[in-house]
Structure formats: C-alpha cells, structure tokens
Homo-oligomer: 426 residues x 2
C-alpha cells in the first residue's frame, strides 16, 4: 500500500529520497566559507554539545564538553538551509537524509533545545525573529478539516501499528510509574473521568474524540451517555465500528462534525487533545460554546499540550506534522474561561507523562519502521521518527507542557471541597 | 483601650455613630420622589429578594419571591449615597448605622451579589462604569507600608480575640470536612508544605508571613530554615516573640521588610495571602524576584484570593478594609510566571474553604463584638461584621476565588509525577 497521495511532506519528489539531491555535494570539498558558516551556525544556536561534520567527512565543530552525537550535513544545501531557518529546515533536511545524526537522536535534540533556550531566551531578538518568520495556518471551519485530515486521516492501519491497542493518541498517565503504555492510557482515562466526577446516567459531550476510546470508556465504566465529535472521517468510521462491536452504540454517538457545531446541553464537557488544533483566535468562541452547552452543576475538562509562555509551535511541526497547531500557554487558555466567569477548579501539569508517552510511541514506531516505509516511504519514516523524538525532547526540556484544566460555572457550589476523589481508587 | 488614632474608617467623626447624622431624616416623611428613587435603585441592582424600608417605616419595595431580609435606610442621605455609588456607599452607611439589615446579613448579601451579577454581568456598561469609578490606591514601597499597617497593625490583641489560637489569617483547609477552624488552619499549613515537598535542611523564603505561624510550623514539623518577610511591625514583633518562646529562633528569622528587598537563594518560595496586596503592576517584578531567589530544583507556591476574571476589588473593601488590595484572576497571575517560563505544576481553587473560614471568623467575631466595641467603636464593629459577612457571601456566590499555584523552573525534571504525595498522610 504505497501512498503517493497526499504528498504529506510537501517536498519535491513526494518526500522520496533522491540520490541526486542528497548526494549533491557528497564527496565535494568544503571551502573556508563553508567552515566559517558552519561555525557561525553553531555559535548562533548556542554551541550545542554535538559535533558537526560536513559532506566531505570533515568535522568542523567540536563542543567544549563531551559530544552527545555527531550531526552530519550531507550537502551544502543543508548547511545553507539551516543558516536561513534552522527550526524549519532541520526537519525537512533530516527527513530527506540531507542531515543525519550519529548517536542518540533524542539526546541530540534535547541538547539542541537546551542550547537554543540558553542562546535565545524568551523575549530575545533571535527568538522574536524566528517566531515572526513563521505564520501558522488558519483554523477556521474549512482549514480545520484540512489540518486534521493531514494528520489523523493517514490511515487507521498506520496508527494501529504503533499506538496502544485501544488507539489512544494523547498523553498517558503513568500511575503507578511502572505502568505500561496500555495501562497508562487506561489510567489517564480514569484520571479524566474522576476529575469530571462522572455519575451514571449523565450526558457527556466530547469535543475531538480521536478513535472514540475515551467516549466508549466513559460509557462502559461510568454509565454515561456520550456525544463525541470529530472531523477526521477515518477516526469516526473506526469509532462507530468499535461502538457497534462493543455493544455501546445505543449509549455513544459519534458525530462527524466540527466542535463549532455542537448543540444541546450536557452534564460534562470534555476535550482531550483538541485545543492544540483550535488556535487562540477561537478560544473565546469555544468558551461561549461551552457556556451554553454545559448545564449548571456540570464539569468541564480541557486536556491540552501547552507552553510556559505564549509562543507559536515549532515551525516544522506546524508545517509538516500538525498544520495549524499551537499549544497554548495558561494565559492564552484563560481566554476560554474568563470572559464567561468560569471557575477554574484545578490545573495539573503532566509534562513528564507526555515525555514518557512519546518515548513509548517512538520505541514502538522504530519496531515497525520497515512496515511504515512500505506504506509510505523512507522520508515519511524519518520525519515521524524526528517528530516523536523531538516531542520527547520538547517535553523533557520543558519546551512543552501538558495541562489538564477542570472548571465549573461560577456560582456552582456543588464543586468538590478537595481533590481526594481523584486519588481514591474506586 | 479606646483608639481614635488612626481614624481607620476615614469617616467624619472618627467612625462614631452620630445621632444627628444617623437620625437626620428619621421619622421625616418620605416623598414620592424618595419612593421612585428607591424603586429605581432596586431595579438597577437587579431587584434583589429583600424588602426595602425607608426612614419613615414605609416599605417601598417588595421582591416577587419571599424576602430573605429587610433593608432599612435610616435617612435620605443613605438613599442618595446608594444611588450614586451603591458598591462603595453601602459599606459606609451600614457601618455608621444609616443602613440596617433585619434578618440574616449573609443571606441578604448573597442575594445582593447574585442579583447584581445577573443585572450587571461581566462586560456590561453598568459594571464597567462601576469599575472605572473607583481607582484603587498604589502599592509601591511607601504605599504598601501604609496599606498593610492600616489593616494588620490594628493590634495583636484585637486579632487574638477572634482568629484561631495560632493566629492564621488566611483561608483554612477543612479536610476532613468536620474539622474545626483550628484543625483546618493546621491542615492548610500541611497542605502547603506537602505541595512544596519540603525536606529537612532546606531553606525557605516566605513573603508576607503574617504572625509567623506558617514559618514556625515549617521549621518545627518539616525541619527547614525559614526567612520570613513582613512589613507589619505588630505582626513581626509577635512572630519574633513566638520564635523565641517556641525555641525556633535559630531556625526562623523574621525580617521586617518589603518583599521587594528579599535577597539570597532558597529551595522553596512561599507566599500565603500576600499577592492580594501586591497589585498587578508589580506581578512581573515579583516574578523576576522569585526567579533569582528560587534555586533550580526548588518549588514555589503562591496562595491568593482571586477572581474568575480581571476586575478591581469591591471599592468599599479596597477603601476601608484592605487599601490597595486587588484579587487577581489567573490570567493576571500568569504575568508573574510566563515572562520567566516558570512551569505551573498545579492550581487548586479553595473557594468554598474560604467561605467557611470567613464564616467561622464571623461567628467568633460576633461573640466578642462587645469587647471590640470597647477597643474601637460601634462603627468599627459594624464595618468588620460587614467585611466578614460580605466575604462569606463573595466566596459563596463565586465572586471571589482562592487559588493555590505551585510552580518550578522550566527545565526542572525533579517535579513529582503525580499529586498523590499531597493526599498521603505521612
């Protein structure tokens, strides 16, 4: 099942490695200018602790401390691309093999994140320029559908290869710490359900339901009715099949529609891993939707990748992996709650759980990379390895966060006095 | 110990009830204009469910539902003052006896809060005008000292009359729910210490330490060293005596100085009930101070009254009770964290605990009101009853929140995976 459509990477040649491209300067000598540019590149990225080797095999940069990896630029185009836009170009050049990393990719990326954070701290000119250079795509009704299809409609067979058996594609919750990915995904769903204080017979709206696993879990284990929304046709198709197979199709309805078209009222509003795709311009209207949807006395929970401060997503991730995505800072998230005086009851940061989740995904992905290459191509495999390894590095170095926010209507005094119920196994 | 200095209420006559003032229109007939104005007043405040009676004994307003109380305006000045500035004038007129409430004061205030919230929802013109009319006092170095002395230097003997035995003047934590105020204050201190993950030998900075009870508790029960700052001379004097009496003066240093002058480094930075007095303009510089004070690997905790959305404090409370105070919304609080990429780990809202704390304080205050009147005067007693009852009502109706925010440096991976340690009794 070789797919050439859609050309998901958006690279020339359908993302295939082209020998004439990747070997363009291979073996060619490097000039004094190349060396100088390579050293400038390392200086402007904070002198990260890996060696840099050019296409002729010459190592032109050695860090002061012991190197965690060796980064090889296979041609001059890779060097020039990195100088022009390191955050964006690294991903494309890595995918197509113009850049290779000898050694531990995750450690290399962590080192790069830390060096860049030190060299371009928040508010610095370099960081502002980088953020200004990349305009993320829109997340209106039409764009949202395109953005979501780009990633989530890659095919259920693809995700089945390396996600957990229940197909949960969001941060797991490793409690107890020795939990497997499978166990941690179930623990995450229970963590969410306890925070929502679900009671049998309640009606729940889920915005952005993935393959429907949380919706089915809530119905089966907490006795609620669920209306679950998603604009990924592939995911909705799978979710409906699951509901039927599991005999839950009378209690869970999967609706292929945008969250903006949610209507009716519910006792709990939950959204796990959708807000990253909503875009800050739409938070206030999402809040308005929740206000009219959530009954008085009901609970809301938003689970989203986040940032410690407002900042656009990594440009390569936004362009190639999650178009239109932007992890919000807490101040940005409050635009959803404060205009409607929602009372924020609880915020929990699960950053280190997402580091481990991505690490588990990457390990599984590596095991099936040959199969994935058969389905797509080598560049696809390398791009996804980079995306998963980069996510491990981003959560590990504090560049990304994972926020779970629980909220209620302002005057609702049925809110729990403590959070003990979240930590009491029932 | 009758005090006429300082004239804390700022009213003419030192806050004394003056018969000539309060009885100015008593017994005088009320006109058609008075009746019309009174009814307009009720309409613009959302037709709250209490009756309104004028100085001649005539009830000029009856709600549609069963009234929770009867509010009596003792003279025309009370009526005109309420029309001009209901939020500010009610407090002064109640203190001086121009307004009286027959029935349950708390229920009456809750009803008023709810009616006003419905009539003047966030963003409405009436609310904007109200917020615009009142400019809170500054919180610079000098003003802060004046602001704090106004309230906290009223005298330790006064607070000893009605606070818990350990003199903790912040939101308690009623866990288990049947806890007494004394027990709940201890539970709150332990809740804070567990969130901070205090370990023996650590060094802690406390900004705004009240009578020093938390500082002493941390040193005694968690084996840490504490540097505790406060600009209330009365509180610092008491705290130092306590440290000596309890044999903890080698481990707890009480420093009479502004939080802005904190220097050195610590393993934990804690501030319980100070941020309300800091003022949003100073959050960013407070964050800078915390960044340079908190060692890598350390934890910070800010405990503060808050709001669901940015809004000035009630003008009477800001003028008469807590000058310069402003409870922040979460979006405002993030100005302390986001510029420095602090990672927010945990936010908990303890609103209903503060409702109960204020209710416990009010009950004790009522029991000693005769003694308080001997120390100050009748107007002081009535003002403080109103402040405490109003606080119960504000927390109960969701007008005020209580946020505990735990945070760490961005790249600190020693943060706990779960919050179970907060709920595990050691």
């Amino acid at each position: 099942m070789k797919r050439n459509e859609p050309n998901w990477l958006g690279l020339s040649g359908g993302g295939e490695l082209s020998p004439s491209e990747t070997q363009g300067s291979a073996g060619a000598p490097c000039t004094g200018l190349d060396r100088w540019l390579a050293q400038r590149l390392m200086a402007t990225t904070g002198n990260p602790p890996f060696t840099l080797t050019l296409w002729n095999g010459e190592t032109v940069y050695r860090p002061e401390t012991s190197p965690v990896a060796n980064v090889i630029l296979r041609d001059r185009r890779a060097l020039l691309g990195l100088i022009f836009s390191p955050h964006f170009y690294f991903g494309d050049a890595y995918s197509t093999g113009r850049i290779e990393v000898e050694g531990d990719l995750i450690e290399c990326l962590k080192a790069a994140y830390r060096a860049l954070e030190a060299k371009m701290p928040p508010g610095s000119i370099g960081r502002e320029i980088r953020n200004w250079m990349h305009r993320p795509r829109g997340t209106g009704l039409r764009s949202a559908r395109r953005n979501i299809q780009h990633h989530y409609d890659l095919g259920n067979n693809f995700y089945r290869l390396w996600l957990d058996e229940k197909l949960v594609y969001t941060c797991a919750y490793y409690d107890p710490p020795q939990a497997t990915l499978e166990q941690a995904q179930v623990a995450k769903m229970n963590h969410v359900c306890r925070k929502l204080e679900l009671k049998p017979g309640q009606e729940v709206v889920e915005a952005g339901c993935g393959w429907g696993t949380l919706a089915l879990h809530m119905a089966r284990h907490y006795g609620v009715r669920v209306w679950a929304f998603n604009i990924s046709s592939e995911q909705i198709r799978y979710a409906r099949e699951q509901a039927k197979t599991q005999g839950l199709d009378d209690r869970v309805e999967f609706i292929e529609d945008d969250y903006r078209n949610i209507s009716g009222q519910c006792d709990a509003f939950v959204s796990v891993g959708m807000l990253e795709h909503v875009g800050p311009d739409h938070y206030e209207s999402l809040g308005a939707l929740i206000r009219r949807t959530l009954k008085f006395g009901g609970r809301g929970l938003i689970h989203s990748i986040g940032r410690n401060r407002p900042e656009p997503n990594n440009p390569w991730i936004e362009r190639r992996i999650f178009p239109g995505s932007r992890p919000p800072s807490l101040s940005e998230m409050t635009n959803m709650f404060e205009p409607y005086s929602f009372s924020i009851l609880d915020v929990e940061n699960l950053r280190l759980h997402y580091e481990r989740t991505c690490d588990d995904w990457l390990k599984r992905f590596e095991q099936v990379s040959d199969q994935v290459e058969q389905m797509y191509d080598k560049a696809f495999v390398r791009a996804w390895q980079l995306y998963l390894a980069g996510s491990v590095a981003a959560f590990s170095t504090g560049s990304l966060q994972l926020f779970q926010v629980v909220f209620a209507h302002a005057q609702d005094n049925s809110v729990p006095l403590t959070r003990r119920h979240v930590y009491t196994d029932s």
